[in-house]
Amino acid sequence: MIHEYDVVVVGGGIAGLYTALTAAEHCRVAVVSKVHVTRSHSVAAQGGIAACLGNEEEDHWEWHMYDTIKGSDYLADQDAVEILAKEAPQAIIALENMGVPFTRNMQGKIEQRRFGGHTRNYGEAPVKRACYVSDRTGRAIMDTLYDRCQTIGVDFFNEVFILKLLFSGEHCCGVAGYDIASCKPEVFHAKAVVLATGGSGKIFKTTSNGFASTADGFAIAMDSLIPIEDMEFIQFHPTGIYGLGILISEAARAEGGVLRNGSGERFMERYAPTLKDLAPRDIISRAILNEIKEGRGVESKDFVHLDLTQIGKERLMEKLPEISSFVETYLGIDPSEKLIPVAPTCHYMMGGIPTDHKGRVLSGKTETAVPGLFAVGECACVSVHGANRLGCNSLIDLVVFGSRTGISVVKHAEEKELLSLPPHAENIVINKVNSLLSSNGNERSPVLRAAMQCVMTEKCSVFRNGDELEQTLDQICQLEKRMRNIGLENKGKVFNYELQEALELENMLKTARAIVFSALQRKESRGSHYRNDFPERNDQEEPRHSLVNLTPKALKVTYKPVFITRFTPEKRRY
């Protein structure tokens, strides 16, 4: 079926819904999501959303800007970070006015707490900058946006999986996918397309991400020959529940929790004397793995402890109820009494589809916008997070740039005509789906997926080196080859998840190849990207963003300079 809209948003997390809401005040908007929108992974965001409201203590947008840039290891574009830090307070007010039930302080204002890497006066000490709704901040924002979309009239297309961007010449004019409940093709014909597809944690074995985080947006952008930016920068959150990867928010350390190694030592004091357990995530993840490598893991195993026993039962129930219940459910531990085993878990993609400050997708080095195509949220790279994102900066990114993207799609839709769809747009999807449904090869996607997750986790996570990256690239290419010999046993058309998982695996393998390739080319250590064979940041040259292109034959990397305005790169000490 062909649906006509002014704007179609792919993905229904906070970025997608905020963009949709902003645009829906002026034009017809559809949100298309492969899960029911209230199941999007934004609901798993726990600890908070950063803005210099100054409700608890003195704070300034310049401090927020500095922290974000330093946290990014000077790879973020500083003009974009300035926008983020300046517009953040207004974005929080807008959320509050929509009805987000923020936790309040004694004055009745939005309460704020500390968070990793957020400091006062350019690095002096932690500052209270994170606004929050106990430890279910993402869920509360999503619920408010979802209800708001219902009352102002955004059309939802749930459980529709988008496979392809559609173009009329250079202009993006829609997307094509299929209804998961029936395998029937669904084409969305629109003046503007917004990609808000989230991340790709499922490329790795241990991740805080849900099953839907399968790199779909990156892959369909690359398929349309749009280069993707800074893909080597992947955040590993220091405190995932050991073995499961379920996130224990940084808020746990903001409320007084500390990390301890096998001998009970508060080891972060050695790595970050000023911020200690509230240092940025890249630094803590490396510190944890270093402790483990040097034999100081708990029971000499590959995890350390998160100690929340000093917070007290009452405060845990008030400030961290969700994570307390996760720990109790999955580990059988009362966090007010016992230590929690934790290890780094794949959490967030700093890189993504390059955009300008208005959410317009850029087509590479020339920095020209792809007309009609926009991206926002984790799948986009503005870049405000550079080589390492600070906690609480992702939710504020979604809202600030969701709002800006919403405004710019409206302008686009008002100025432009609806362009004609390419002929037989539905057939692209029908052919793709049918060829998989009729496939009879002897490879199975769960096996290939496990192999990908294994090699990516072992060779391309927190610590990397050239030789291993070479091998990994080779192995990912082998897996892509084997993927061509896949066979589906389930030929059904109603909720055929074997089909969906095969399509998702194609997206993940393609993206994994881009990640490894970018990582191999970046011969320095910066933020989350640490090369054992190049352990220093390259300060001889200006910092630069990588752009990886999927040409018909192979991958190609080009570079563009980082936009620097106020803060010149310095040594990063915490």
């Binding site: 992974h41 609901v43 869920r139 996760f326 074997e498």
Partner: protein, 241 residues
């Protein structure tokens, strides 16, 4: 350790009637029920259909009936059940079955939509300048309601849904409305309370407490519904007290 799952099966493309399949899977005591379903789909029968997303009880995708009681497959561990016996996995009761464990959630989400008054489209000419204040106590009144993840377990456990032939709005929608009715910032409380009084609305609730018993987020649903009823009586029908 081997455990046995007896799983409800219905393929709308080929089956006239549903049936049950028995699967044996290797599992640990701390494995999630969802992990076992994944083992079946990835290793034994790729056609087994069920929804999942976050896998840690915050998105609400994987509500199913386990041994007859609605629960999230990702929040229940093998050790929570008598694993020496078959574990019975079925779709949520009172929902229309589409394929295996997948039910039609659209009527449920329609009830969630139905609690909102129809606001005209509001264009904000001027963005708001500051946050509205709310005391800790005022904010506390909606603490329970904001925990809801819209999984549908409460509806699948509610005897009134059966009694009123699935026309009752259900506990989740009432709880969603409670969130707005008790939010000190709300400006449309009266309208929202009137919506609750529509046929098959809040007065259908007979306080069976089943919603409270099964809620995966431990929300005191019945208590919140009773509070809402009391407020409606006090503010819409003051004479009847």
């Amino acid at each position: 350790m081997k455990i046995t799952l007896k799983v409800f099966r219905f393929n709308p493309e080929t089956d006239m009637e549903p049936h049950y399949d028995i699967f044996n899977v290797e599992a640990n005591l701390n494995d999630r029920v969802l992990d076992c379903l994944n083992k079946i789909r990835w290793e034994q029968d790729s056609s087994l259909a069920y929804r999942m997303s976050c896998a840690h009880g915050i998105c609400g995708s994987d509500a199913v009936s386990i041994n007859g009681i609605p629960a999230l497959a990702c929040q229940k561990l093998i050790k929570d059940y008598d694993y020496t016996q078959e574990l019975l996995i079925e779709p949520l009761k009172f929902f229309t079955i589409i394929n295996d464990l997948i039910v039609d959630m659209e009527p449920f989400f329609k009830t969630i939509k139905s609690i909102h008054p129809n606001h005209p489209m509001q264009t904000q000419d001027k963005p708001p300048e500051k946050e509205r204040h709310q005391s800790i106590e005022e904010r506390g009144k909606i603490n329970d309601a904001i925990k809801c993840i819209l999984c549908g377990c409460c509806v699948a456990a509610c005897p009134v849904i059966l009694e009123q032939e699935q026309r009752f709005i259900g506990p989740a929608a009432i709880l969603r409305s409670q969130k707005y009715i008790f939010d000190s910032r709300s400006t449309d409380v009266i309208e929202r309370m009137k919506i609750m009084e529509k046929p098959y609305g809040i007065w259908g609730c007979k306080s069976y407490y089943m919603c409270t018993i099964v809620c995966p987020k431990k929300i005191k649903v019945t208590e919140q519904i009773l509070k809402t009823k009391k407020k409606i009586i006090q503010e819409l029908h003051p004479k009847s007290e």
